[in-house]
Symmetry: C2
Subunit: 148 residues, 2 copies
């Protein structure tokens, strides 16, 4: 298994993984037109972030996005971690842990002093995974407004 | 009162507002070295975001940051809203509502399809303010890891 930054040629496979992810999440629904657009925006804009994928042979078995932003509290670049998913056929093999380790190394090497993610409030197994990897629950509450 | 994008010459005044904000928030503490660095990173990088301020005469009476990132779920640019604070001497005059209206217009004009913020879990008056402005509580839970 190797991890590497995604290319535009990977988008079809990544789009399938995202469809799997968004059908599991409470607040999102798969959108096969929107997802490739978003992936391409990140892949074409290295200052915005990196789509990191786990590949075994020719097959993409997992993905995670690291998006860069800036914190005034830390006076530094920080990262958002989004869209982490391991293909259902490849779970239980610690691929998620390996991929996350690489994502954290990448964020650190790009000068990020913190990583924040939003995890599904109803998905306790995801929360346990993140906690095991060193992520701490924040007491802050996310609120959103749609501009569509 | 007028709203405008901050310049580097505004950083000293903005730094005082941030110190006030971070002394109120549960998860943050003021850091007078970090804050100006973070502000300058945003001001110098229009693709990363905009520091929007409310000015009355020469005096800065409020601020809010709009930071740009990308959503694969929406296939579009989205915004994070951070660091919104009105100077204590200028509260109760609807400056926050005006500033937020401008921030939403700005995000929309820059192609953002959603704005997400994290608000203090203990600050019910802030939660009421955001709800009144159209923000909806997400069921997702923020988790963070420090890379310092």
């Amino acid at each position: 298994m190797r991890t590497e930054a995604a290319f535009s040629s990977d988008i079809t496979a990544l789009n399938e993984l995202l469809a799997e992810l968004f059908s599991q999440e409470q607040e999102f629904a798969p959108n096969s037109e929107a997802q490739p657009k978003g992936l391409l925006m990140i892949i074409n804009n290295p200052d915005a972030g990196v789509v990191l994928l786990a590949r075994r042979g020719e097959k993409i078995v997992g993905m995670v996005n690291i998006l860069f932003t800036i914190s005034t509290a830390l006076g530094a670049r920080v990262a958002l971690l989004e869209d982490m998913i391991i293909a259902s056929a490849s779970r239980g093999e610690k691929i998620g842990t390996q991929l996350l380790t690489e994502a954290i190394l990448l964020a650190r090497s790009r000068g990020c002093k913190r990583i924040t993610l939003l995890t599904d409030g109803a998905n306790q197994s995801a929360q346990r995974f993140w906690a095991k990897q060193g992520f701490i629950v924040s007491s802050m509450i996310p609120m959103r407004i749609s501009l569509e």
